[in-house]
């Protein structure tokens, strides 16, 4: 297929990617790239990473056949890759462990991170505690208000949570602010980005640390199916880290891949986060990609019920996979995601993250269009405990 040669030496996925950052941090990206390349070619580093994933985060995560969900829904069998069972409750920790180990290897003592809903912030604070690093997490004032529990968790873990009052006071502004801080403290600070976004080498690095999802899935699935690959693989796409990690081993293979964006109130409204479906080419947070913006180039505030998909950009490799049509990107509304979340609850006893529910929702549609002897694998990127408040607000009286 088409992706064997991306990213190129300039960090480009086709036209996408690159390093659109102030000159001040260019040296840090180079330093990072060098350290990263060295690390992933070092057997010891890889073994350490794998060991930490196993004994700290509990990997491998299982691949659970959703028997009752599949039956209820009809069509293909649905398998769930259980990233929700990771330590801290989502795939985010894979990447956080990888980057933190790299930071330690580079001799950095401080990490900074951005967070929206707080999931990556918690993951970053977690690895900072574990590896004895100081940690500052940038978070929009508005998100701090909405996610008080995660803010408290980060503080418990010893992180400093820095309120961002610029712009729309949400994730994109927190990211801007984290980059600003990085520019100011670049000499001794490691910026731990939480998704497959940002300037090169971040998208590549995050993919590297998340591809364990796909590799485990492949070996678990083929083992159960006598070497056969799944008939479709589905993942939700915020910045794109769980999806790219899940897709990684399948991109070069003949497996249909589906990325699911948040359609919010509908892609035809202005309340959505469907970056690929509705966005256009542009630069955000150091990378040329697709994003939601006005036609003048002002970045617009996305909307989704799920805080982790509520990002106006997307990782550059996804923009590339979209353009080359290797991956199909679909959009799922709040309502469809909520329905899927509830159906998964009552048929499988699994309360998934609202982000993941988008992938589940699309997998139901997909499975219905497929045969009984086929199989769809969905990346269940996280657990839904963090979303119970949101669900309670949504459901209002119904559940109370």
């Amino acid at each position: 297929m088409t992706t064997a040669t991306v990213p190129d030496h300039r960090g480009r996925y086709g036209v996408f990617g690159g390093k659109y950052v102030p000159e001040t941090i260019m040296f840090a990206l180079e330093e990072l790239e060098a350290a990263f390349n060295e690390a992933i070619n070092d057997k010891e580093f890889n073994e350490l990473f794998q060991k930490e994933l196993a004994i700290y985060s509990g990997r491998p995560t299982p691949l659970t056949k959703a028997e009752r969900l599949s039956e209820t829904n009809g069509g293909a069998s649905i398998y769930l890759k259980r990233e929700d069972l990771n330590h801290t409750g989502a795939h985010k920790i894979n990447n956080a462990i990888g980057q933190a180990l790299l930071a330690v290897r580079m001799g950095k003592k401080k990490i900074i991170a951005e967070t929206g809903a707080g999931q990556h912030g918690v993951a970053a604070a977690t690895v900072a505690a574990k590896y004895g690093l100081s940690c500052k997490v940038y978070m929009g004032k508005e998100d701090i208000r909405r996610q008080a529990l995660n803010v408290f968790r980060m503080k418990l873990l010893g992180a400093e949570v820095i309120e961002v009052t610029s712009g729309s006071q949400t994730l994109k502004d927190a990211t801007n602010e984290a980059i600003r801080e990085w520019v100011a403290s670049v000499e001794d600070t490691f910026y731990l980005i939480g998704s497959a976004v940002g300037p090169y080498p971040y998208p590549k690095m995050v993919k590297q640390f998340q591809q364990v999802i796909g590799h485990e899935t492949q070996s678990q699935f083929t083992q159960e199916h006598g070497g056969k690959l799944p008939d479709a693989v589905v993942a939700c796409v915020g910045g794109g880290s769980n999806a790219i990690g899940m897709f990684a081993p399948f991109i070069e293979k003949d497996v249909p891949l589906f990325g699911v964006e948040a359609a919010g109130l509908g892609v035809d409204t202005d309340q959505h986060a469907a970056t690929l479906s509705k966005g256009s080419k542009g630069v955000i947070h150091g990378s040329l990609t697709k994003l939601l913006q006005t036609n003048e180039g002002q970045i617009t505030e996305p909307y989704s019920i799920s805080a982790g998909l509520d990002y106006p950009g997307i990782g550059p490799e996804h923009a590339y996979l979209h353009e080359t049509e290797r991956v199909k990107y679909e959009a799922v509304t709040d309502k469809e995601a909520l329905e899927a979340l509830k159906q998964l609850c009552v048929t499988e006893g699994i309360l998934c993250a609202l982000e993941s529910a988008h992938a589940v929702a699309y997998s139901l549609t997909l499975a219905r269009s497929m045969n009984k002897d086929q199989a769809v694998v969905v990346c269940l990127s996280g657990r839904g405990d963090k979303d119970v408040h949101t669900l309670m607000d949504k459901e209002g009286g119904e559940y109370r």
């Binding site: 950052v21 801007n176 040329l288 002002q298």
Partner: protein
């Protein structure tokens, strides 16, 4: 190279280059402020374009951008503002300071065309580092527009030499790590960095980021050819916001007085 750049580069003054935000707090104010800056000795003008996500800017310029956005000023309007400035007599080079995404959406070709039509002399894209600037650099060269390059104390030696020697218009030396803003201290070793830049540059070497006081400016006068002041001036404009909207004449007077207190005698 155009006439305005010639004057700028041939000057023997210690050059003062101010940064202001287009449309802050109104387009008319921007015009008057620009003229006042020239009158007070500005050797060139950086005109910022309001942007939703100015990740190289500190809070002062972020707020200015919000004010500019509120005035619905965009890249195209900012460029057109230069034409008005020219009509009102502004003679110094004007550099459009824009984030890359705005340029991308307008289209590089369209930008170059508009720049030419409206008397723009240069462009500075804070999030377009040397490595990503090849295409724009070439287009600018072909269109006689200076793409202002930045170097930072963290720029590697080899790259510093390359950027310095290729610089057009002027070379922007970032005097401190971090985003734009007002600072009270600068890094050690800055002089050395500036001297290395100067040794390789064919254009004036200016120092910027964080300057806000006359004493700070004096600090660099032996190692550079001029200085850039952004946040300090933008902050003054912020203080004068109401007056600039209601009693502009008086506001401009105050603004000039501020500039005189700020600037070294030789650059007025």
């Amino acid at each position: 190279m155009n006439k305005r750049w010639e004057v700028f580069q041939n000057s023997s003054d210690y050059r003062f280059v101010p940064y202001i935000m287009a449309g802050d707090p109104s387009e008319e104010a921007t015009i008057e402020l620009s003229l006042a800056l020239e009158e007070c000795g500005a050797a060139a003008l950086e005109l910022g374009v309001p942007y939703s996500d100015p990740l190289a800017d500190g809070p002062v310029i972020q707020r200015a951008g919000m004010r500019g956005l509120a005035q619905k000023v965009n890249l195209e309007k900012t460029i057109e503002l230069v034409s008005t400035l020219r009509k009102r007599g502004l003679e110094i080079p004007v550099i459009i300071f824009t984030y890359y995404n705005l340029l991308l959406q307008l289209g590089e070709n369209r930008f170059l065309q508009l720049a030419e039509e409206n008397g723009v002399d240069g462009i500075l894209v804070p999030d377009l580092p040397y490595e990503e600037s090849g295409y724009l650099q070439e287009m600018c060269s072909q269109n006689n527009l200076a793409l202002i390059s930045l170097v930072s104390p963290t720029t590697r030696e080899e790259k510093l030499v390359k950027i310095s020697s290729e610089a057009e218009g002027f070379l922007y030396c970032i005097s401190s790590l971090g985003v734009t803003g007002i600072r009270s201290e600068f890094r050690d070793g800055l002089d050395e960095f500036l001297r290395a830049a100067k040794a390789n540059s064919h254009v004036p070497v200016l120092v910027g980021f964080g300057l806000s006081q006359r004493e700070q400016i004096h600090q660099f006068e032996n190692s550079s050819d001029g200085f850039i002041i952004g946040s300090a001036i933008v902050k003054k404009i912020e203080e004068l916001e109401d007056e600039l909207l209601t009693n502009r004449e008086e506001a401009i007077k105050t603004f000039k007085a501020y500039l005189e207190s700020l600037l070294p005698v030789y650059s007025r």
